[in-house]
C-alpha cells in the first residue's frame, strides 16, 4: 500500500477557503511535499499556534501539486478554531500519514461510497482509479441536499439523501451498485453496513488519535481476529471484514455529524 513513504513536517500557510455545503468548508494549505506524495485515503495531522494540545487528523481531500485541501465542519474546539482562520494564517502539517486505499490496476469497476464528511478521501480515490483505467461510480450521501457536498469526480455520480431532497431517498449504501472494488468512508455505523454487504470493501475508519505516528496506541481499531491495530499506521483504510465492528466506537463527533 502506501506506507513507508516519507513523512513531512511543514509550516503551511492557508491559501484558500470555500464553502462546499451548508457549514462545510474546504481549506487549502501550501504543502508541496505532501501534495506530491499523498495517496488517496492518507491523512495529515494538523496543529496550530495557540490551538488545542493535540493535532487533528484530516484526510487529504484534493491536491494540485502545490497545495493540499482538507474538508471539514465545525464540530468541536479544533475544527471551530480552524474555520476561524484566514488565508495567510499558518498550520503545522504532518503527513502524509497512514495507509491509503492502495488502488492498483486490475479491477474494471470501482464504487466509491461516502457519507457526509466521508467525502473527504474520495476525490483523490476517484482520480487514482481513473488513472488506472478503472470505471468509477461515486455514491455520495448526506442527511439533506443542503448538507451534500456536490463537488464530484468520476464517470458516474449518484446522490443520496436521507430525506430525499436530492437524488436517491435513503442511504448511500442502499443506493450503491455492486462492483469489483468498493471503497467507503463515512460514519463508522455506515461502514459497518458496508462490511455486511461487501466484506472485501476497503473502508477508511475514524478513531481518536493521540499522535498519528504510531507511538501512542491511542487509535486502537478492534480486529475480528482479536487484538487491536493502529488506525494511524496499519489504517485508516482496512478490509471491511477484518474489523470487529461492534467494538469500534461509533459516536465520534465527525462520524455523528457526517
Amino acid at each position: 500500500m502506501t506506507n513507508g513513504g516519507q513523512v513531512f513536517l511543514l509550516d503551511s500557510p492557508i491559501t484558500a477557503k470555500r464553502e462546499v455545503a451548508r457549514d462545510m468548508f474546504v481549506l487549502a494549505v501550501r504543502a508541496p511535499e505532501i501534495a506530491a506524495s499523498v495517496r488517496a485515503g492518507q491523512f495529515v495531522n494538523i496543529g496550530w499556534f495557540s490551538g488545542p494540545l493535540l493535532r487533528r487528523p484530516f484526510s487529504v481531500y484534493r491536491e494540485d501539486g502545490e497545495n493540499i485541501e482538507i474538508i471539514l465542519k465545525a464540530v468541536g474546539e479544533g475544527t471551530s478554531q480552524l474555520l476561524a482562520m484566514k488565508p495567510g494564517d499558518r498550520l503545522s502539517c504532518l503527513g502524509p500519514l497512514g495507509h491509503g486505499f492502495g488502488l492498483e490496476a486490475g479491477p474494471r469497476r470501482a464504487v466509491l461510497i461516502s457519507g457526509g464528511l466521508g467525502v473527504a478521501p474520495m476525490p483523490l480515490a476517484a482520480g487514482e482509479a481513473t488513472k488506472l483505467g478503472i470505471h468509477v461510480t461515486w455514491v455520495h450521501g448526506a442527511r439533506s441536499s443542503d448538507e451534500l457536498c456536490t463537488e464530484s469526480q468520476g464517470h458516474e455520480v449518484v446522490w443520496a439523501t436521507d430525506d430525499g431532497s436530492k437524488g436517491f431517498a435513503g442511504t448511500a449504501v442502499a443506493a450503491a451498485p455492486d462492483a469489483d472494488v468498493v471503497l467507503a468512508c463515512g460514519p463508522n455505523r455506515m461502514l459497518a453496513a458496508v462490511a455486511d454487504r461487501w466484506p472485501e470493501a476497503r473502508v477508511a475508519v475514524e478513531t481518536y488519535m493521540g499522535c498519528g505516528t504510531g507511538v501512542c496506541l491511542g487509535c486502537a481499531v478492534p480486529l475480528k481476529r482479536g487484538g487491536y491495530d493502529r488506525a494511524c499506521k496499519e489504517g485508516p483504510v482496512y478490509r471491511a471484514a477484518d474489523i470487529d465492528w461492534p467494538s469500534l466506537p461509533s459516536h465520534l463527533p465527525y462520524a455523528v455529524t457526517a
Binding site: L9, G47, R55, G210, T213, G214, C216, H251
Partner: protein
C-alpha cells in the same frame, strides 16, 4: 557549545533529554525524528506476556492535557527480545525497558529475561501497576510494595535500575526513600495522574476503561513539585517527567533538582520536540555562559 552530558543512575548520557515510555513506541515508529539530540529512550511498558490493551476509546483530550488508558498493550518480553532489542543494539543511544508486572516476582522475571540481552541498557520499573497479589492496590502507593518490586528486579540484573514513581501519593518522599534503600540507581518522577472525563451524550466516562492517566502541560506544575520533593528526599539522581513541551519547561525540572528529563506527550504534538528541547537547553546554557549543564544553579534547599 556547553557540555550537555550527564551521568544518571549508572549510565553516562550524551544529553539530558530522554524519550518517555509509551510516547515513543519502540523507537522505530516516529517519522521526521532527529536522533542526534536523543540522550536515550524508554520503551513502551512491557509485561512478561503479550497484552491486548483496553478497548477504545483509549484517549481523550482535556485542557492542556490528555487522558490515556492504553492498558499496557504490548507483545511481551520474548517478542521484544526478538524484534526490537537487535535494532536497539545498533543505535548510538541507550534504550531502557519500562517493565511491569502483577507481582514482585513477575517484575523480577521480566528483568532476568532481559538482563544481558544486547540492546537493553537498563530498566525503568513502572510501579503504577496494580498489585494483583495485594488486591489490586498500586505498588507505587505503598513504600513496602515499591521496595519489594525494586529489590526483586535489583536481584535479577546488574544493569541500571530506575524506578518510575506515581504521583498519586500523599508523600512522594517516603516512596522515594524506600526504593532508594531497595537499590534503585535513579528515580523517574512522575507517571500520569488518574483522571476521568464524562461523555454528556452517553452519561458515562469517555474512556472505555473509565479512568485514564493525565499527561501534558496541565500536570507540569504538579510534576515539578513532585520531582523536586523526590530530589530533596534522596541522593540518587531524579529524572523529571511531566508536561515538558519546550526547553524552558525542561529547565524548570533541572533547576528544581533533576539530573535529566523525559519528554512524553510533546512528541505526539511535535515529533521533533526532543531535539527542540535539547537545543533550547543548550542555547540557554550558552546565553547564560555556563560551560556545562552541571553549572546550572539548582534550587534544592534541604531544610
Amino acid at each position: 557549545m556547553s557540555d550537555m552530558a550527564v551521568a544518571v543512575g549508572g549510565v553516562k548520557l550524551r544529553g539530558p533529554v530522554l524519550a518517555a515510555s509509551g510516547t515513543f513506541g519502540y523507537g522505530t515508529e516516529l517519522p521526521v525524528l532527529e536522533r542526534r539530540a536523543l540522550a536515550g529512550m524508554v520503551s513502551k511498558g512491557i509485561f512478561l506476556r503479550p497484552r491486548e490493551g483496553t478497548a477504545p476509546p483509549r484517549i481523550s483530550e482535556t485542557p492542556s492535557g490528555m487522558l490515556n488508558a492504553i492498558g499496557l498493550q504490548g507483545p511481551g518480553v520474548d517478542v521484544l527480545i526478538r524484534d526490537y532489542a537487535p535494532k536497539w543494539a545498533e543505535w548510538d543511544f541507550p534504550v531502557f525497558v519500562n517493565i511491569n508486572g502483577e507481582s514482585a516476582l513477575e517484575y523480577g522475571e521480566v528483568a532476568a529475561r532481559l538482563d544481558g540481552v544486547p540492546g537493553v541498557a537498563g530498566f525503568e520499573i513502572n510501579i503504577s501497576c496494580p498489585n494483583v497479589e495485594q488486591g489490586g492496590l498500586y505498588f507505587g502507593n505503598d513504600p513496602r510494595a515499591a521496595a519489594a518490586v525494586t529489590e526483586a528486579v535489583r536481584k535479577r540484573t546488574s544493569l541500571p535500575v530506575w524506578v518510575k514513581l506515581t504521583p498519586m501519593v500523599s508523600d512522594i518522599g517516603v516512596i522515594a526513600r524506600a526504593v532508594e534503600a531497595a537499590g534503585a540507581d535513579a528515580l523517574c518522577a512522575i507517571n500520569t495522574f488518574v483522571g476521568m472525563s464524562i461523555d454528556l451524550n452517553a452519561y458515562q466516562p469517555r474512556l472505555s476503561f473509565r479512568t485514564g492517566g493525565l499527561s501534558g502541560p496541565a500536570i507540569r506544575p504538579l510534576a515539578v513539585h513532585l520531582a523536586h520533593q523526590a530530589a530533596l528526599a534522596v541522593r540518587i539522581p531524579v529524572i523529571g517527567i511531566g508536561g515538558i513541551m519546550r526547553a524552558e519547561d525542561a529547565l524548570e525540572f533541572l533547576v528544581a533538582g533533576c539530573a535529566a528529563v523525559q519528554v512524553g506527550t510533546a512528541t505526539f504534538v511535535n515529533p521533533r520536540a526532543i531535539a527542540e528541547v535539547h537545543d533550547g537547553i543548550a542555547a540557554f546554557l550558552e546565553a547564560k555562559r555556563f560551560t556545562s549543564l552541571t553549572d546550572l544553579p539548582r534550587y534544592l534547599p534541604r531544610d
